[in-house]
């Protein structure tokens, strides 16, 4: 394990990869800070760049962007009460009141340190958990893989807001449907191509990711005409105050950071749960554990109130890598995008990744360690300057995001057809998002679709065309029972409440 980590560190420490790491952290921070844009958009926007990189280089860049965007989201939450994405919402509860009291620097320093502690503990846990899980899962056959993918898709339902279960499942199915477009590899026949040669290779993953996240996000921002208040702009331009924390403050938040890191990692490992649930859960846990005046401070500028969600959401981001790297099942929208990027680069995450592409696995682990250090090094001193980028006018921001999407997709294929398709899909995504259809399950379904069908076919071939493997193989059966529970639990809860 130590040998592997050293190999990973050596790979990451090459000048080219260090540039990717630094650049990724900075870019991620910048994108994540823009109101409405989160890690998933940041990672989607950067995918076209990864095509010129090695798989390890691509993973280093995407991991750095992921972490950077998480931190960027916190900055916007603290300074202007506008979280970049849902996992930063709990940070606003105490971060913004602190900023209004002239202690924005302290709040941002806590975000940086909290993210560092959460990310580091999660990386350590990933390093320990992933090989164990990989060695257990390496004996999986096609039937287990199929069941695992069903679990990955249905687990989304268990963590969806009440009332949104059916929509989440429907989006996952729509993703699976989009994955069937193109030439079927097993039979060599075309499906849903309608005589259009551009469709015979299927839909491009980048195109769908851009349309579903970045493009639709920007269009909704234009629709809502989100403009920063003068007060918020002033906060972004003004001084953030001291970044220093006293020894007593550090002692006060240290146990919170450790608890939230462990909780965040555990939640992040669960497919479909992710950073948002981790952040809200850890905030609630800390508020319940607090006594006396410390409890009263929650919601008014509690340091523990910032530390808990900030540590937990970064730890959850690390935890989400466990199912991705060991089982090939993404735990969140962002890891679904990363999975798609890896598949495009010819690397299939799963139990065999640890054996066949050990360099990719260890490069990810090493880049997480270094990424957390770099984020701390660049973000702490740069906080006052980073904050000023929040004053970029929205009149410029939205067209620039649209341009990045267009050029990102165009440079992959140099085919205007892809641009037309992306624009059409973005229009549909905007309408779906307006009525609360989640986009992450769509991408998850799309990424897993072909693999799911392939594994089901292989399982049927091995079992002479009989579906009996679904209940005869214990692990397959166990995973399918879990899937059924994931779907039925929220529905039963709803029925019970009437």
């Amino acid at each position: 394990m130590i040998e592997g980590l050293l190999t990973g560190l050596a790979a990451v420490a090459s000048p080219a990869n260090l540039v990717l790491l630094f650049g990724g952290c900075l870019l991620g921070t910048f994108i994540g800070m823009m109101p409405g844009l989160g890690p998933v958009t940041a990672v989607s926007l950067l995918i076209p760049i990864t095509y010129g990189l090695s798989p390890a280089g691509a993973m280093i860049l995407l991991a750095a962007v992921y972490y950077g965007a998480m931190f960027g989201g916190s900055t916007a939450s603290v300074l202007i009460n506008a979280p970049g994405e849902s996992s930063s919402v709990p940070t606003t509860f105490d971060g913004y009141p602190l900023a209004r009291n002239g202690q924005a620097g302290k709040a941002l320093a806590l975000c940086a340190w909290g993210s560092f502690v959460g990310g580091t503990i999660a990386t350590l846990m990933l390093m320990l958990a992933a090989p164990t899980l990989s060695s257990w899962a390496v004996g999986f056959q096609a039937s287990e893989y199929f069941a695992l993918m069903v679990l990955g898709l249905t687990a989304i339902a268990a963590f969806t807001e009440e009332g949104g279960v059916i929509k989440a499942l429907l989006m996952a199915v729509l993703g699976l449907m989009l994955a069937t477009i193109g030439t079927d590899i097993a039979d060599g026949v075309e499906r849903y191509v309608f005589g259009i040669p551009d469709l015979s290779d299927g839909l491009s993953f980048v195109l769908l990711a851009m349309a579903a996240f970045a493009l639709s996000e920007a269009l909704i921002a234009a629709l809502r005409n989100q403009r920063l208040s003068e007060e918020a702009k002033a906060a972004a331009r003004g001084k953030v105050g001291s970044l220093k924390l006293s020894a007593a403050e550090v002692r006060d938040v240290a146990p919170t950071a450790v608890r939230s890191s462990i909780l965040g990692f555990m939640v992040g490992v669960l497919p479909g749960a992710g950073a948002t649930i981790a952040a809200f859960m850890s905030y609630a846990v800390e508020r319940n554990l607090a006594r006396g005046p410390a409890k009263e401070m929650f919601g008014k500028g509690s340091l523990r109130g910032i530390t808990a969600p900030e540590t937990a959401n970064n730890a959850a981001a690390g935890g989400a890598y466990v199912p991705l790297l060991t089982l090939g099942i993404p735990g969140s929208g962002t890891t679904a995008v990363i999975l798609g990027a890896l598949i495009t680069l010819g690397v299939q995450p799963g139990p065999r990744l640890y054996i066949e592409h050990a360099e990719v696995f260890w490069a990810v682990v090493a880049s997480m360690y270094l990424g957390n250090v770099i984020l701390l090094i660049i973000n702490l001193p740069l906080i006052p300057y980073i904050a000023r980028t929040l004053a970029i006018p929205e009149t410029m921001l939205v067209p620039l995001i649209l341009f990045f999407c267009l050029v990102g997709v165009y440079l992959v294929s140099f085919n205007p057809f892809d641009l037309w398709l992306m624009i059409a899909l973005a229009g549909v995504a905007v309408v779906l998002r307006l009525v609360d259809y989640p986009m992450a399950p769509l991408l998850l379904g799309f990424v897993l679709g072909k693999l799911m069908e392939e594994n089901l076919r292989r399982a049927l071939l091995v079992h002479d065309g009989s579906f009996a493997f679904l209940w005869e193989r214990p692990v397959t059966l166990g995973l399918l029972i879990l899937s059924a529970l994931c779907v039925s639990a929220p529905l039963l809860k709803r029925l019970k409440r009437g």
Binding site: L170, R191, M396, G465
Partner: protein, 153 residues
Amino acid sequence: MPFRQLDRAVALAVFAFAAAYFLLAFQIRVPPSSDDSPLSARSFPFALGAVAMVLSALVALKPSHGDVIAFERKAWLRSLGLLALMGFYALAVTRLGFVITTALFLAGGFRLLGERRPLVLALVAAGTAVGFWFLFRQLDVELDWGWFEDLKR
């Protein structure tokens, strides 16, 4: 528009899409060698189409509650304008080339979203287009010149 109404309308549109997908699965030509296979190229689409129809019907029958979705007419026009600008980009990039198309697209976008200073608008749009052109040249990415291909020589 009330949320419930839009939710139902969208669910019905998804149902129509799923039904079309299901029916079009009949047109998938299955090779004779797959006739006896328990899972042909058609099977997955049939199953997915059916499940999507059931799920979208459930949403349509019981749409969720939410805030009224009301945007100003101007906001809709602004978003449609951005979609049209993107269409222009797709249409023009192979004809007018990367630099001109990008500059026009950005200038149009900035203007549409309310940028009123013509100098800032033109400078940022042209600067970004030329800047990216240089960047891609450094990365050995050959960009379109469109009708101005002769200028390259």
